[in-house]
């Protein structure tokens, strides 16, 4: 451990293999540069408001109805791009059938208008309903298919749609086009300026809806869907339902655009909803930056303006758009919005620091030892802890596994496994590779269904359930490679643990507020873990492996689970982090939770565990009570309470952890 070197004038991380000592300036800039909506920064609508006002003034500058209708077209495609960005960028749903969804909405509105004489207001709801239904249907294969398969099947749908419209030409008039579709009755349809303001307003509503969602608890859920779907499931989030909801929500702006398109274009034909549109949308979202709020707006403005200039169906247009997609995806995968935002934020930060150094914020050391307290748990001092241990010894197991069987094909991985987990104890699950440790953990957490055997949680039988259902009953887990949302803060990542659980009266009203405030449960979990409060605002992508593991444990703790299963939490951690992790696990257990950890490092297990369960060829070979040794060590640790760390037992000779 090095102490943080404070150098106000350097702008770079110190060279060297261990980048723990980071200057306050760098840290403060890094804290401000969290990509995307993150806590610690109050969302503001001043900028978007100014942009909206400027755009709303455009009709004062031009009287040309032709120019205004071109701008309306750009706004219409912007809405579609916002829909694509919501599903693909924010929630990571690889669905690119937006041209089809827009086409279905446009044809629904057009057919009702032309054949049934419904006016433009009456067709709105049918068009939106049609868009939502088709959007959910096209994404339905996603429940069974891997992501990129879904991408290509939805792409296939874009190939199919125009030919379907052509085949149904008795109703749709095929490639000659459906029309004339009437415009909005009253002032909107007759005045180009008002119609422009109307479409601008609709676009602003779509943008604002995404903005509101991105900053709400839904923003955390959607990003977890994209970045850490397994963790969301293990936190009690019903992913299929969430995915269906995203499909429906992402279809709304697209359907709205289809409706606007039909009533402002007057004539619609199938080739408006084909590859060219898809190419425009993808190029726009890639250029702007997927997952950003402004990306689709800026991208569409650039590419659609270009398209209008070149001609939407010109060969040169598709060449430019194709290369646009290609170059953006290879050369700047984040798009232009994040680097630009970074640039301005860094400048802003420099100005502020120059003016008033105190604004630079507290200096944070991103090492594990600095972030997590290694003193014993506050609410469980030494003597009572020992007493509670004695009490736990007679306690009933919180989780009782009896006769667990699991075979993959003909390969019997778990063969009659009987394990009891006790509250307040750390259980180390050890054994050679292939002995069934991970499978057992997956069976307990529902990621693998068992073939036989019973599971009793607090005496209640737990059938084979989906991971999210098991998580809601109070069994949480971590992953060997931490499944975290890099662009969100520690607090928001931990908050995910509470979002999947059924809402608790009273608590949730605090937790759902859309401020930079941190939900009470997260603060409580952080206190229990000994995680310093100022780390709650740090973006997780800046944290080292050890702290990401702590974040995962925190995410589980937020739900106040009965059992926590940890998959090799110590793997790949440096020696000094192990001591912190050990203390963290003791704190978790001291709260009354049963901890099960898979571990290869036997000496670490001997340090941390109360019970060691040894698996061999799918059988429990031995269960060893380590408590006596453990108490002995606790006594030692208590003896040198001033040091605060059980260094004697760890035997690393590591200097005491102080900040």
């Amino acid at each position: 451990m090095t102490t943080a070197t404070t150098t106000k004038d350097t702008g770079s991380r110190p060279a060297g293999p261990n980048p723990t000592g980071v200057g306050g300036l760098v840290r403060s800039i890094a804290r401000r540069s969290a990509v995307g909506p993150s806590t610690g920064r109050k969302p503001t609508l001043v900028g978007p408001g100014i942009v909206l006002v400027v755009l709303a003034l455009i009709p004062l500058m031009t009287n040309s109805g032709f120019e205004l209708s071109r701008l309306e077209l750009i706004l219409t495609y912007m809405m579609v791009a916002i829909g694509l960005n919501f599903g693909f960028g924010l929630a990571g749903q690889l669905s690119i059938a937006q041209p089809v969804i827009m086409g279905v909405a446009a044809y629904t509105a057009g057919l009702l208008n032309v054949n049934q004489g419904w006016n433009a207001w009456a067709t709105l709801v049918p068009a939106l309903v049609a868009a939502v239904i088709i959007g959910m249907l096209l994404n339905a294969p996603g429940f069974r298919l891997r992501g990129w398969y879904l991408a290509i099947t939805t792409f296939f749908a874009v190939l199919v749609f125009p030919s379907l419209v052509t085949a149904a030409q008795r109703w749709t008039h095929g490639s000659t086009g459906l029309g004339p579709i009437t415009s909005w009755p009253g002032i909107i349809g007759t005045t180009p300026q008002v119609q422009f303001e109307f479409v601008l307003g609709l676009t602003a509503v779509c943008w604002l809806a995404v903005w509101a969602i991105a900053y709400s608890k839904w923003g955390v859920l959607l990003r977890s869907m994209r970045d850490s779907p397994n963790a969301a499931g293990a936190s009690g989030v019903n992913m299929p339902m969430l995915s269906l909801a995203v499909s429906a929500l992402a279809s709304l702006p697209v359907g709205l655009a289809g409706w606007v398109f039909a009533h402002s274009a007057e004539l619609i034909s199938p080739n408006s909803f084909g590859f060219n549109l898809l190419l425009l949308l993808m190029a726009s979202v890639m250029l702007g930056g997927r997952g950003t709020l402004w990306g689709p707006v800026i991208g569409t403005a650039v590419f659609e303006t270009l398209s209008l200039y070149i001609g939407a169906f010109s060969v040169y247009n598709s060449i430019i758009l194709g290369f646009g997609v290609f170059v953006c995806a290879t050369a700047f995968p984040t798009g232009i919005v994040p680097p630009v935002r970074e640039f301005f934020r860094v400048r802003l930060a420099k100005v502020q620091i120059a003016g008033e150094p105190s604004l630079a914020g507290p200096e944070l050391d991103s090492s594990v030892a600095a972030a997590v307290s290694t003193t014993p748990p506050l609410h469980a001092p030494e003597a009572p802890a020992a007493a509670s241990h004695a009490a736990h010894a007679q306690a009933e197991p919180v989780l009782k596994l009896t006769g667990i069987h699991k075979a993959f094909g003909g390969n019997l991985v778990l063969d009659d496994v009987n394990v009891d987990l006790y509250p307040g104890k750390v259980h180390g699950l050890v054994g050679p590779n292939g002995s069934g440790k991970t499978t057992l953990l997956n069976v307990i957490t529902g990621f693998v269904s068992r073939d036989g055997g019973t599971v009793l949680l607090r005496g209640q039988p737990v059938p084979n359930l989906r991971p999210y259902q098991i998580a809601r009953r109070g069994i949480r887990r971590s992953f060997q490679v931490p499944q975290v949302i890099g662009e969100l803060s520690v607090a928001e990542n931990m908050r995910l643990g509470a979002l999947g659980a059924p809402p608790q009266a009273g608590e949730e009203s605090v937790a759902t507020s859309r401020k930079a405030e941190v939900p009470r449960r997260v603060v409580k979990a952080a206190e229990e873990l000994g995680l310093s409060a100022e780390y709650l605002d740090m973006p997780v992508k800046e944290l080292p492996l050890g702290l990401r593991r702590i974040v995962e444990i925190g995410r589980a703790m937020v739900a106040e689970p009965a059992v926590i299963c940890l998959d090799e939490p110590a793997a790949g951690l440096p020696e000094e982090d192990l001591v912190v992790l050990q203390q963290t696990l003791h704190r978790v257990a001291a709260g009354g939770c049963a901890v099960l950890l898979i571990e290869h490092n036997l000496s670490f297990v001997r340090e941390v565990a109360d019970v060691m369960i040894e698996l061999q060829d799918g059988n429990v070979a031995e269960i060893t009570e380590l408590r006596s040794l453990h108490d002995d060590r606790r006594a030692k640790a208590g003896g040198q309470a001033g040091a605060g760390t059980p260094t004697a037992a760890a035997g690393t000779g590591r200097p005491e952890a102080t900040r």
Binding site: Y149, T153, S163, A167, L321, V325, A329, P333
Partner: protein
């Protein structure tokens, strides 16, 4: 009945072509985890080269085959260098499939449009390279070209299976598929293997374009159709299996020709789409697919 017989013959012939494209996808997917959208572009390139050099310039057929195959190899390798290598260099292999889907899609559509600059959107007829006199089986006329298309594809399937299962090259490829990192540690130059897989798939696609052109005619627009019908073949037949890709291709071929007897031919793509979705919903890995590639137990969902 005769109509159905003709449709089956045509379906198996053109199905062989879809099978070739599907095998190209499988080869690339298995070795690198990339879905190379440019395969459709290469098919189109093979078809238009055939029109240009053979039909217009009258070059000898064998020399056109060599040029088309060589061009396929080159474009296949270039697609790796342009659309995949930079992505790998930037952020490794996480999300590689998704990212390269976008890069190859963009590059493919851009190249398709560049071809349209030269050839326009016109459809060019190309004469058959074998006799047009049909053989009669049970009174059903069968065009020899269909037999050639299916026969050559079958030959390629057999050669590929032998290469993969019996030779060191196949062992190297399978090792790369199973565990790229392990293969690297064992001294296999993974990048080189992947590059050759892209090149090999390019040859398959270019030859497919050359073989089919008297039937389908040459146009810029076949690129997207072939790219997606080939994918349907792979998805239906099975993820990570050459045999599956071949049979999936035949199923797609038959689904393009047989229903066209009764329904509006413009509904063909809808029928294939529906068939693909139904099969994927019932069996996501496809008819002959495995969890991993080539029968490996490990799922490589990259």
């Amino acid at each position: 009945m005769t109509l159905v017989g003709i449709a089956i013959a045509a379906g198996l012939g053109i199905g062989g072509i879809y099978g070739l494209v599907a095998m190209g996808y499988t080869l690339i997917m298995a070795s690198s985890g990339v879905f190379n959208f440019l395969q459709g572009t290469i098919v189109m390139g093979g078809a238009l080269t055939m029109y240009w050099l053979w039909q217009l310039e009258g070059w000898p057929f064998l020399s056109v085959i060599v040029i088309v195959a060589g061009g396929g190899l080159l474009v296949g390798m270039m697609s790796y260098a342009a659309a995949v290598q930079p992505v790998v260099a930037r952020h490794g292999v996480s999300d590689l499939t998704e990212t390269t889907l976008v890069t190859t899609f963009g590059l493919g559509l851009a190249l398709n449009s560049i071809v349209a600059l030269v050839f326009g959107y016109t459809t060019y007829p190309v004469n058959s390279y074998v006799s047009n006199n049909p053989w009669f089986i049970d009174g059903i006329p069968i065009r020899p070209i269909y037999v050639v298309m299916l026969g050559v594809t079958l030959l390629i399937v057999i050669v590929m299976e032998i290469l993969l299962k019996r030779t060191t090259t196949g062992l190297v490829l399978r090792a790369t598929v199973q565990d790229a990192e392990g293969a690297r540690l064992a001294g296999i130059k993974v990048t080189k293997v992947v590059l050759w897989a892209f090149g090999g798939a390019g040859i398959l696609a270019a030859v497919a374009g050359l073989m089919m052109v008297p039937v389908t005619q040459a146009s810029q627009g076949i690129a997207n159709n072939l790219a997606l019908f080939g994918f349907a073949g792979m998805a239906i037949g099975g993820y990570g299996s050459f045999k599956g890709a071949f049979i999936g291709g035949l199923i797609v071929g038959l689904a393009t020709t047989i229903p066209a007897i009764w329904v509006n031919p413009s509904l063909v793509s809808t029928i294939i789409y529906g068939l693909m979705i139904v099969i994927l919903l019932i069996r996501p890995r496809g008819l002959f697919g495995t969890a991993g590639s080539f029968g490996s137990a490990r799922l490589r969902s990259v």
